[in-house]
Structures are given as C-alpha cells and as structure tokens.
C-alpha cells in the first residue's frame, strides 16, 4: 500500500470513529426534540414523525398557552426556569463577592496558618451537600421560624446553601492571581497606593476572565443541582428547573412530551451560553492549580 493510501485509510477510520461518537452524543438530543413535537407522552424513541403524530400541545403547555379543555397548571413551567436563573445568578455573584478578597489575601499576603487554611478549604469542601442535607434542612427549618423569607421553601434559603461553593472558588481565583506578576502592584505600592487600592484598581481589572469562569461554572453547577433544591423547595411555585423538570416524570405519570419541550426550551440557552464562553472555561479548567 502506498503511504498516501494509508494516510487516507487512517483518516477515514478516524472520521468513522468520531462520527459514531458524535451520533451517540447528538442523537439523544434530536430524539428529545422529536418527542417534544409528538402527540401523547411516549419516551423518546424515534427520529421520525408521521404527519398525523405532529402536535404542538407540549410547547403550548410549556409556554403556558391554553391547549385543551384541561386547565393549565397554576405554576407555568417557565417560572421554574426563571427561579433557576435567579438562584444561579445570585449565588454565583455572591460566591465571587465572598471569595475574591480572600483569594487576594491567599495569593499576595503572608500570614500564620496560610497553608493549613488553604488545605482545609480544599479537604472540607469534599463533603458533598447531599450528605449534609439533614443538617441544612433542620437549620433552615429553625431559621424560617424566625425569619420567614430565609427558611425552608424559599429561594434565599436555597441560595445561602449554594454559597457553600466559596471554598473551591477561592482556590480557582487564587490560582489565577498567582499567575499575574506582582510587579505592577509593587510599583503602585511604591507610588503610595494601599493594598486595597492595588487590589481594586490594578488586580481586579486584569482578572475579569477568571471571574467569568467562576461565574459560568457555578452558574451551570447550580442550574443542574437537584438533591438540595428538591429537599429545600416544597411548593411548585418555588421549584427550580431541576426539581420541576423531574417532577414531570413521576413514577406513575411520566409526561415525556411535556418534559421534552421544557428540556429543549431551557437546555438550549444554557448550552449556547456555555459554548459561547467555552474558550474562557476551558482556559480556566486547564490552567490554574486545582480543578473541579
């Protein structure tokens, strides 16, 4: 065999392999799209619809347009998406606010027990929120008896639990600060700037990329978070997307069509957002110390 033929063959094999992988990735999503347009509630199982199977009932359900004699639910499904966006945006912003100054101190200042505190941040955050659920539940329950808007069944209560993400992000932001040479800050200090001024005026402006990464990663994480949200939020009005979407697939009443339409409608913007910010995120994952 000639070398050029061999190369051609190798390329074809590689393409074939990648195409199979692509099919496994993309086909499930296409099937969900088809399911959302199909009459009735069947699990996703085909890429093709006969003309008599077409129906927009699931999309009408999701967009809260009346579509049959059955009354639409009191909580429109898009409300769940909205709840999720609020919770994710506020908790991600909160995490950045709370962790950035600490990351600065860890990166630039020398103090007692610095290494120990950093290590314990990393080890203690390995304790997943699901395991502390009983504790979170009891704590929120007793807080709610005195401060109603911060108790069980409230979005602020859920957000405050998600703020537990500070530890991982202190590490990520610190890792980025470490890569920025301190020389600029040195010269600002010589010119008489206080540490806080150098932090705000010099370090923060050049650190926008890492804040974007932290924001996007924690946004996506909270968007997908299921166990804590389902334990804390009891009424459909306060549900997040994760809890609401899974509620459509209860044991004896699986509304696959409704679920598919909701999944497409809410999954697409999040996915597009991620892909647009991909470059930042991948950079943040592969550089800077510790990941995930």
């Amino acid at each position: 065999m000639k070398p050029s033929h061999r190369l051609r063959l190798k390329k074809m094999l590689a393409h074939g392999f990648l195409l199979v992988a692509l099919a496994l990735v993309v086909l499930p999503f296409l099937m969900v799209l088809v399911t959302s347009l199909r009459k009735g509630n069947f699990p996703p199982n085909s890429l093709w619809l006969n003309p008599d199977q077409w129906s927009l009932e699931h999309w009408k359900y999701v967009l809260n347009i009346p579509y049959s004699e059955i009354v639409n639910p009191s909580t429109p499904p898009l409300h769940w998406l909205w709840n999720s966006v609020i919770v994710s945006a506020l908790s991600s912003a909160g995490i950045i606010l709370l962790s950035s100054t600490a990351a600065y101190a860890f990166a630039r200042m020398r103090f007692k027990f610095r290494g120990h505190i950093l290590q314990s941040l990393l080890i203690l955050q390995m304790f997943p929120a699901v395991l502390a659920l009983t504790a979170y539940y009891t704590i929120l329950d007793s807080v709610g008896r005195h401060v109603e808007w911060l108790g069980l069944n409230t979005l602020p209560g859920l957000i405050s639990i998600y703020l537990a993400g500070v530890s991982t992000n202190i590490w990520m932001i610190k890792g980025y600060f470490d890569t920025i040479p301190a020389s600029m800050e040195e010269s600002a200090r010589i010119d008489g700037a206080s540490p806080f001024q150098t932090f705000v005026r010099i370090l923060l402006p050049v650190s926008a990329p890492i804040f974007a990464v932290v924001f996007i990663l924690s946004f996506i994480y909270t968007m997908s978070e299921y166990p804590v949200a389902s334990a804390v939020l009891g009424t459909p009005k306060t549900w997040t997307l994760a809890v609401g979407a899974s509620s459509l697939l209860r044991e004896h009443e699986k509304l696959w069509g409704h679920f598919a339409a909701l999944a497409v409608l809410s999954g697409v913007p999040i996915t597009v957002m991620f892909l647009l910010c991909q470059r930042f995120v991948i950079g943040g994952l592969t550089s800077g110390g510790i990941k995930e």
Binding site: P28, S99, F106, P128, V130, A135
Partner: protein, 515 residues
Amino acid sequence: MILPTVSPIRLLIAALVTLPVLYLDFLTYQSGNNWLGVVILGLLALGLYIYLSPRAYTFRYLFPGLFAFSLFVIFPLLYTVYISFTNYSSRHLLSYQNVAELLEQDSYIVPDTPCYDYVLYRQGSAKYVLLLVDQSNREQRFLSEPFDLPPGQTVHYPTLVKISAIEPSHSIEGEPLQIAQITREGLFIPLRGYQFLLPNGQTVEKEGLDQFCCRNKIWKRNPDSSFTDQKTNFTIRPDFARGIFIDEKGEQIGIGFRAFTGLDNYIKIITDPEIQFPFVRIFLWTVAFSAISAAGAFAIGMVLAVILEWKEMGLRKVYRTLLILPYAVPAVLSILIFKGLFNQEFGAVNEFLHAVFRFAPQWETNPWGARAMVLLVNLWLGYPYMMLICTGMLQSIPSSIYEASAIEGSNPLTDFFHITLPLVLPPLLPVLIASFAFNFNNFSVIYLLTGGGPKMLGGGSAGETDILVSYTYSLAFRSSENNYALASAIATLLFFLVGTLAWINLRMSSRRIVY
C-alpha cells in the same frame, strides 16, 4: 505594608453596622435562642476587631470568604456529626422539652361533668362574651366576662376567664355569631387558648366545634421529672439514654424524644446485620462505580483528545464543539433524557437493540442491567471533562519528542504508549483521584436514573444501584423511619473516607503546586 489608622468615617460606618446587628441580637435573645445570641455577639465583636484594628489587617480580606465557609460548610458538617451521635428520626423527632410539654397538655373529659352548648357574642368591635348552656339542664346558664379574640392568632394556653351563673331570662348585649362566621373570621384559633372558670371551681374549654366541656390533665409532672397519671396513679419517667418514656417495667409509653445516644449508630452499622449487609454491598458497588467511571471517562476522553490533536484531520473544530455537548447541557436534563431512552419497553435503546440484535436488556428490573445503564450514562456525562483536560496536557508536550521518535521509525501506537501516556499520566493522577472522589458522591446520576432500584432483596430501603450517598438519602428522606441519625453517621464516615482521598491527592499534587 502600610497600616491605615482608624478614621472617623470608618468608625461611623462601624457604628451604623453595629446598631442593627445588636438589635437583631436582642430579638434573637428574646425569642429564646440564647446560644445563637451569644454566637452572633461573638461574631460581631470579631468583625469589629478585624475591621478596626490595624493588627488584623490581613483578616479584613479573609473574613468574608472564611466567614461564609464556616457558616455554610463547617457548621453544617459539625451539625451532621452531632446528629450522628443522637437518635434523631421520625420516632424521636422532638426535643425532650417539647415532648414533656405535649404530655402536660394531654387531657381527658372528666366523667360525670356536664358539657355545654355555647353562643359567642361580639360586643363592640373587638370584645367577646361567651354564653354557656348546660346540655342536661338548659335552665343552668353561665355568662363570661368580656375577653379578646385576635383573629387568626393563637392565645397562650391556658388563659383563664371567669364565667358566672345568670338567670335564663337575662338579656345579653352584643351580636350572636354563627359557627360558620366564627370559622370564617378565624376566631376558633384564639378561642382554643381560653379556659373558662366556673363558680364551682371547674374549668371548661372548647371541645370540637359545637360544645364546651370540662377537661382535666392526664399527667402531673413530678419534681423528679417523672409523670403520674392522675386517674390511675401510674408513673412513667424519661429514659434519657434511649430517648423514650418508660413505665416501671421498662416498656415504652407514648412518643420518643431526641436523645444523645453516643456511638450507637456507628455500632449499628458494624454489627446490625440488617444494615451491615446492604452497607457492605453498597460500599463495594460504590468503589466499583467510581473507579470504572473515572478510568473509563479518562480512557474515552484520552482517545478522543489524541485523535482531535491529529493536525491532518479535517473538521476538528466541529467535532470538538459537538463532543463537548454532554458537559455543556445541564446534567439533570441529560440524565432524565437517558431515563427515557433506556426505558425497557418503549425506549430508543431497546428498540434499536431489538431491531438489530434481537436482544432487549432489562435496564430497569435486572440489577446488572441497571448497573450497566448507570455506568454508560455516567461515562457519557464524564468523558468531555477528561477530553478537555487531556487536550490541555497533550498540547503541552513539545512536538520535537515525536519528531525524534519518528526518525527512529516508530508508529502512532508505540508513540502513544511509550511517550504520551508516561508523560501525561503522573500530572493527571490528581485529576483521576478527584474524579474518583467526585463519582463516589455522584448522587444525581443514580437518584434520577434509577432511584437506587431495583430493590435489594433483604436490604431494607437499599437498592441494587444505590451508592452510599443515595442510600444515605433514602434512609433519611424516603423511608418511613426517616432515620436522620443513621444517615448522618454514614455521612460522617463517608466524609472521612473522601477527606482522606482529598488529603492524599493534595500531598501528591503539592509537588506541582506552590502555595
């Protein structure tokens, strides 16, 4: 470092922050949460010291992050450990104080006393009087002094109101209220708190919706914290070691309360066969699940990364973008989608397998089928992250190494196993361990896909695909027993296990990372 002195503006801001916190603390103290009050006061003092004293300058930066960390990570963790030493569960839900109060309130209708019909009169805008008519002798009537009924609010029980005898012909001022009206205006709620003191010394209170009767307390609290049944002189006392009330023979009476039980839960995990049997099986499956997930996702991610790094391939960018999709789509949605695709009767996977291979695995009812499904889905979810990491690693290997080996006539396979893998594996080991630890606690994929099922025979609430976290969750939240304490004990053990892994990981990677 320049240390700023305390400026008047800073003092003013500190005062403005301090005042509302002090007020909040006052409210906390008033509501009976003394310890919380002390903690808030302590935190306030700490915060003031940090933001005013030049010596604590560094901590001004650390405070927000470390404060949030203590509040949202360390505190719940310690609380979980604390619960694991108690018997907190649906049978021991309330504190001793609450259960004792409930016992004190237990009452019975005193035999041989009359019950009364009643009419509630409204006088003016907010005052009420009650007329009682003896059901056995309708000539016998009583009228209360005026009292308040704040709509919808509870009145502390028992609030005593005197009620005195009147002639049947006595006319009563005010507007009589119907039962429907009383309900609608939410007046029953405050009415429950009142007891009416008859001239003969008996008290009567609301019994159901339409009468007032004479009730007596069943239990009398003795100074030694035992309780005596006033009808039969039967005595029970609390057993704080077990969190229950017991009679003389040691039998449980009534509901239990929360008690400190020491190492009981941990001993139970080791010795109780009903828990030990599922625990060991679930532990082994958890290890296998995490190991296969981490290693498998790494292998797939690595192969894809190597192919996509091949410069002569076309369309690399398109492939890469689409192959990242499982990482970009919210995992909850993907997991639920796969639940549908793997549906045994109607799902796409079985339709395809049946059409092509005449073979339809039982993904939902067969334990091995369910395990295979969970693993397949988790690999699908996990490989893009590994692919991204591996791509980063591959790009950092200088191409001159490959050129050198090409001159010696190598082929791609030997290149991969003799150059790439040995170079890439050591720095990736921490990532693999982190991924193992992550999957060890990968609750969502198990819970949303199978709910832990199919059920494990002889394993109580355990399922064949349950990993330790999902088992813990169903012990606490899905079984009727709601065994929060046992769940917390397993959670504590899990934390030590995963914490050790994280610590080892840190040791290994600290060679690369400079703090």
